[in-house]
Amino acid sequence: MKYLSLSSRTLIILKWVILFVFFVFMDNAFGELMVKSNADHIKIDLFYHGSAVIVSGVSNPSDADLIIKLTSAEGHESLRKKGKVGNMLWMNTGELKVENVPNVYFLHSTRKIEDILSREEMDKYVIGYPALERHVEMNVFNDAEKTKWFNEFIKFKESLKLFDISVGKISLKRKDGKQNYYIMTQWPYQAPPGNYKITVYAVKDKKVIENATADVIVEQVGLVKSLAEMAKSNGALYGLLSIILALGSGFGVGLAFRKSGGAH
C-alpha cells in the first residue's frame, strides 16, 4: 500500500514535471499555434450558395506574423490557350497542361508575403504566387513563356473565384503574451466537392517557426449528390431521363397553351 502510494505520488510529480517542461519548451522553442474552423464539413444541398468559413486560433509568440492558406490537393489541369493567328484573329491555339497545381488556393496574411518570408521558405511551403509558379510544371518551352502562361492561369482562376490572395484581413488581439487571430472568409460555391486543408503558419525573422492544420470536407448531399452520381455512373439512364423530361415538358406546355387558347 505504502509502495503504491509512493508510486502514485511519483507518477503525479513526474506528470507535472513533463507538463512544465512541455510548456517551457513550447514557449521558448516552438511557440504555440492552434487552428480551428467553424466549417470542417460543408454540405452542398440544392440551395447551397457558398458558406462563411471562420478560421481562428491562438498564436504564441504574440509578435509572429501569420499566414493562412486554404488549398485543395494538388492535381493537373488542361486548359485551352487563345492566341493570335495570322497576326489578326484570336483563336484557340493549343492546350496548356499544368501539373502539381491545386484547384483552390487562398492565401491570407497579416503583412505582404514578400516582406515577412524568405524566398526559400516561400518555396518550401509553396506560399504565394511566385512560389506556386516555381512549384508547378507546364508544357511550355522556356521560363518567359511559363511566367506569361502562369499569370494567365492566375487571372483565369481568380475569375472563377478559386484563387485569391489578401493582406491585412486577419484580425489580431494580443492578450497575456499570446495573440488570438480570426478571419471570416466566404467559401466559394465554385469550389467542387473534395477534401481541403487549412494551414496556419506562424512567421518570424522571415522563417516559418510553426504551422498547424485543419481539414475541411466539402460534400454533396441529398438530391444534388444523387443526380451528380447518376450523371457519372449511369449516363445512359440519366440521358434518357433528361430527354423524357424535356419531351414531356414540351408537350405539357404545348397542351396547356392550347387549352388556354394560346395556340389560336
Partner: protein, 305 residues
C-alpha cells in the same frame, strides 16, 4: 433565390435561366432555330463550364423544339415527310462531318479554316436574305432576272429521279434533294459545332421553295431529333448534361416557344425572313468581334464550342 447545379458545380440565381430560356425559346418558336448561338455563350457568362453549357443547351432545345413543333403542327405548319428526308441526310452528313473534322485537324489550322468559313457563310446568307427580303417588301419587280436563274436550277432539280410531292409544303422534288441538302447542312453543322438551323432555314426557303411558316415548323421538327441524339451522347459519353439547369431553362423555353409561334403566325413570311436575316447578321458581327478583339482571358476550360 439561388439553386446549386450538381454537374456544373456552381450556384445560380433561379430566375436567370428561366428568363434566358424564355428569350431563346421565343426565337426558336419564331424562326425555327435552336438558339444555341445565343444560349451557350450566355450560360458561359453566368459561370457555367463550356462543356456543360453546350450539352445542357441541347437538352433544353429538345423541350423548346417539342413545344414549338407541337404549336406549329396544330396549325398544319410541319411537313413531316420533308423533315424526315432532311433528317436522313442530316444524320449521314453528321457522320461524314465528324470524319471530315479529323482530316482537317490533321492538316493543321483547322480552327482557322472552320471559323472563317462559318463567318463568311453566315455573312453571305444573312446579307442575301436581308437584301432579298427588303426588295420583296418594297415589291420591286426582280422576278424577271431571278426567273431565268431559277428555271435553270429548277430544271436540274426536276431532272433528278425519285420525284415526290410534299403536300404540306406544296412542292415536288426528288427525295435526293432534301437528303443531299440535309447532308450538306449536317456536314457543316458537325464541322462548325452548331445545330445548323441558321443554314437549314435559308436552304429550305431558297432551294426547296417551301413556304416560310412551314419552314419554321419543319426546321423545329428536325432540330428536335438532332438534339435528342446530342443530349443522349453528351450524357452518356461526357456526363455533361446538368439536369437541374436544363429543368430551369426548359421552364422558360417551352413557354417562349409557344409565344414565339403565336407571334410568328401574326407576321408575314417576308417579315419573318428579314428579322431572321438581322439576327444572322448580328451573330456574324459578334463572331467577327470575338475573332478580332483581344479577349480578357487567354485561357478557357477545355471543351465547348
Amino acid at each position: 433565390m439561388y439553386i446549386y447545379l450538381p454537374v456544373a458545380y456552381t450556384s445560380i440565381n433561379i430566375l436567370l435561366p428561366i428568363v434566358l430560356g424564355f428569350i431563346v425559346g421565343l426565337l426558336s418558336g419564331l424562326f425555327g432555330v435552336g438558339g444555341g448561338f445565343l444560349m451557350t455563350p450566355l450560360l458561359i457568362m453566368l459561370g457555367i463550364p463550356p462543356t456543360v453549357a453546350a450539352a445542357t443547351d441541347s437538352n433544353q432545345i429538345v423541350a423548346a423544339s417539342t413545344s414549338g413543333t407541337y404549336a406549329h403542327w396544330k396549325v398544319g405548319n410541319v411537313d413531316f415527310k420533308m423533315g424526315f428526308y432532311l433528317l436522313v441526310g442530316g444524320f449521314i452528313g453528321g457522320l461524314v462531318g465528324v470524319e471530315a473534322i479529323k482530316v482537317l485537324r490533321a492538316l493543321g489550322n483547322a480552327d482557322f479554316v472552320i471559323k472563317i468559313t462559318y463567318v463568311l457563310m453566315l455573312g453571305i446568307v444573312g446579307a442575301y436574305m436581308f437584301i432579298e427580303s427588303l426588295s420583296s417588301m418594297k415589291k420591286k419587280k426582280t422576278e424577271e432576272i431571278t426567273a431565268v436563274k431559277e428555271s435553270k436550277i429548277a430544271a436540274f432539280l426536276k431532272s433528278l429521279p425519285l420525284q415526290t410531292h410534299f403536300g404540306k409544303s406544296g412542292v415536288t422534288h426528288s427525295v435526293l434533294v432534301p437528303v443531299f441538302l440535309g447532308g450538306f447542312v449536317g456536314i457543316l453543322a458537325a464541322i462548325m459545332g452548331v445545330g445548323g438551323g441558321f443554314l437549314m432555314v435559308p436552304v429550305m426557303f431558297y432551294i426547296l421553295k417551301m413556304p416560310m411558316h412551314v419552314i419554321v415548323g419543319t426546321s423545329l421538327f428536325q432540330i428536335l431529333f438532332t438534339c435528342i441524339e446530342v443530349t443522349f451522347l453528351q450524357a452518356y459519353k461526357n456526363h455533361t448534361v446538368d439536369f437541374i439547369l436544363a429543368l430551369l431553362l426548359l421552364l422558360g423555353s417551352t413557354m417562349g416557344a409557344q409565344v414565339g409561334a403565336i407571334f410568328g403566325r401574326k407576321l408575314k413570311g417576308e417579315q419573318l425572313k428579314i428579322l431572321l436575316a438581322v439576327i444572322v447578321l448580328a451573330v456574324t458581327v459578334k463572331m467577327v468581334l470575338d475573332l478580332t478583339l483581344a479577349p480578357s482571358l487567354l485561357l478557357s476550360q477545355a471543351g465547348g464550342h
